[in-house]
């Protein structure tokens, strides 16, 4: 498969809530990536989602490579850490993904898609650890910087870290590896 075909098959889904502080990180990343894509820096399809399991299932059904960017609430991790998870390998952390709609979010989308054979061929989850999620909070300045840096390194950051993907305990952190601000 040549590079342009592979790029065209990649779908990036940014998940979040603009009104809920660091939960906006996935949406901000998606918008920045769309701008890069439109300006010709790179090429892939980008969409935004509120994280509803059902919209995610519809978005990724039949797709090749899907990258989901979402805020993470992992108390033990410093804000700004970026965890790369393999969505097809084992369970996701139950509580870590902040956004959910009637308790049907990313984790449930993966579980139901697996039951109904609707998973994409490859599902990479980019979790950005946030710290403030109160209604009305802005995206914290530190996290905005992290998102900006991640987007500027796209898609190299995925290429570097995808081979090291595993479950949340051992998930690779870009910060740990010196790859973000």
């Amino acid at each position: 498969m040549n590079e342009s075909t592979e790029a065209a098959e990649t779908l990036v889904i940014g998940i979040g809530n603009d009104f809920r502080g660091d939960d906006a990180a996935g949406l901000v990343a998606a918008r920045a990536l769309r701008s890069r894509s439109l300006s010709g820096c790179t090429s892939f399809e980008v969409c935004e989602s509120n994280g509803s399991a059902f919209s995610l299932m519809d978005l990724w059904r039949g797709r090749g490579r899907v990258v989901v960017i979402d805020a993470l609430d992992v108390g033990s991790r410093p804000g700004g850490d970026i965890l790369i998870l393999d969505g097809l390998q084992g369970p996701l952390p139950q509580d870590a993904f902040v956004l959910s709609t009637h308790a049907f979010g990313l984790k449930e989308a993966i579980d139901l898609s697996r039951t109904f054979s609707g998973l994409p061929k490859e599902l990479i989850i980019v979790g950005i650890v946030g710290k403030q999620f109160a209604m009305g909070d802005p995206l914290s300045a530190g996290l905005a910087h992290v998102v900006q840096r991640m987007v500027s390194e796209w898609p190299r950051c995925l290429e570097v870290y995808v081979p090291a993907m595993n479950h949340v305990q051992g998930s690779k952190s870009l910060k740990e590896n010196g790859n973000h601000a």
């Binding site: 809530n17 509120n50 519809d58 009637h102 308790a103």
Partner: protein, 441 residues
């Protein structure tokens, strides 16, 4: 000293309800001493956020309050602002709004019936477990939900947080050909929804009746959704602009959501049971026939049967959607003209989970000076607590795990939308020794 007759149930994070909430029930010797449904609702963030914004922004801003019922927020907001400005939206734009609202009812109710509530009756922890044993049922729910999503997408501009509604009408009215593409999936969904009504009507329901004051909209000819007077089973019959004269909100220390009560009486219930009990004869033909087939009582008092009512309302919303699409003729203009001026307006519409009231006061240039939003969950909160107070005494001997599950199921009867977009799935139960306040995990 330990008091073995005291049982405390704490569900610190409620699963399968929208938002963040917790339940605290304290029982002693089979009697319920205390019930507190704690809601961590962002305290009136949006009411404050709206002040100083232009009234024309209200529909889009308030749509962000809830990921499940953005159309309800848009509709109550747009109708309240239009009331303040003296704007009347007529056919076919009025029907388009009704159609958009039907889409939301279909998707929200399908989510609740299949994914949130049915697992309770079939003995599954959640829909993921149910999907493994009842894949066809879950797929049917997903198909019905998708049909509703499609309506919201075509009429509202997108599935999530639709953006096409504006004061005076729509930014763009869909063409009849665009709507007709929805017909086939809607007709398929209708057949599945009819089966669903008979399926859920066969569930085993806990033996429990309670008759709170039911409050819903009532329209002369339509099952309530977009318009109507606010009526109750105890004689209220008012225009929405009189809402504050008859209902008031009270602050309760243990929750940051306000409790809404009928002045001089107290708790009341909005939502499917109230709508159905006050408007059953206004259901569309197939839905009314199914109701007569599966619901023999004249007033449904068992809140566990709300799943049956929701299923009937899905049928109604699908029938209405098909009818409106078949009759749709494109309007010459997508909105009616108006001018901004000072005024005050209020409106109530029927969100899937109950009455949603908005009131706005506007300055001469249309700036919002004051906003009030009373969501259905804060109206139902006191009644949900009353359900638990009445339900639990006769079941006090149940093991705590079963009792906890029953409490959660009783709360889910009302599909509470506690805030928006965040929840944590943690459930903790503690036994409390009241003599020294020790908490034992």
């Amino acid at each position: 000293m330990s008091d073995s007759k005291t049982k405390t149930i704490k569900v610190n994070y409620l699963a399968r309800v929208e938002g963040e909430g917790a339940l605290h029930v304290r029982m002693r010797k089979g009697k319920v001493e205390d019930v507190q449904l704690k809601i961590f609702e962002p305290p009136r963030f949006f009411e404050a956020f709206l002040r100083g914004r232009n009234a024309l922004e209200a529909p889009d801003i308030t749509a962000r309050i809830c990921g499940i019922c953005p159309v309800a927020y848009q509709m109550s907001a747009v109708h309240a602002v239009e009331y303040a400005l003296g704007v009347t939206v007529t056919e076919p734009l009025r029907d388009l709004r009704h159609l958009l609202y039907c889409g939301e009812w279909i998707e929200s109710h399908a989510l609740h019936v299949y994914m949130l509530h049915a697992p309770d009756f079939l003995g599954f922890q959640d829909a993921m477990g149910m999907a493994k044993s009842h894949p066809k049922a879950v797929q049917m729910g997903l198909a019905i939900k998708k049909a509703g999503n499609s309506i919201v997408s075509v009429v509202g501009g997108r599935e999530v947080h639709p953006i096409n509604v504006k004061v005076g009408g729509f930014h763009r009215a869909p063409r009849p050909s665009e709507l007709r593409t929805l017909l086939e999936p809607l007709q398929r969904a209708l057949a599945m929804a009819v089966d669903t009504v008979r399926w859920v009507a066969g569930f085993s329901f806990p033996d429990f009746d309670r008759e709170p004051e039911f409050v819903a909209l009532r329209h002369p000819t339509e099952y309530p959704m977009c318009e109507g007077r606010v009526v109750s089973s105890q004689g209220i019959d008012i225009d929405a602009v009189q809402f504050d004269d008859h209902f008031t909100e009270i602050h309760v220390p243990y929750t940051n959501a306000l409790h809404s009560v009928v002045k001089g009486r107290g708790a009341y219930l909005t939502g499917p049971l109230a709508r159905f009990n006050l408007n059953r004869q206004r259901l569309a033909t197939t839905a009314r026939g199914l109701a007569d087939e599966v619901i023999l009582e004249s007033v449904v008092k068992n809140p566990f049967k709300s799943i049956v009512i929701r299923s009937i309302e899905i049928v109604h919303a699908l029938e209405e959607s098909i009818r409106m699409i078949e009759n749709y003729r494109e309007a010459p203009a997508s909105s009616v003209p108006f001018t901004l001026h000072a005024g005050e307006g209020a409106a109530a519409t029927e969100a899937p989970r109950g009455l949603l009231y908005h009131r706005y006061r506007l300055s001469e240039d249309g700036t919002i000076l004051d906003a009030k939003i009373i969501p259905p969950t804060s109206q139902n909160q006191k009644s949900i607590e009353d359900d638990l107070r009445d339900l639990l005494p006769s079941r006090a001997a149940l093991p705590k795990g079963d009792l906890t599950h029953l409490c959660e199921q009783a709360i889910r009867n009302h599909d509470p939308c506690i805030s928006c977009a965040t929840h944590f799935l943690r459930l903790e139960i503690h036994d409390v020794e009241p003599s020294d306040g020790t908490v034992k995990p």
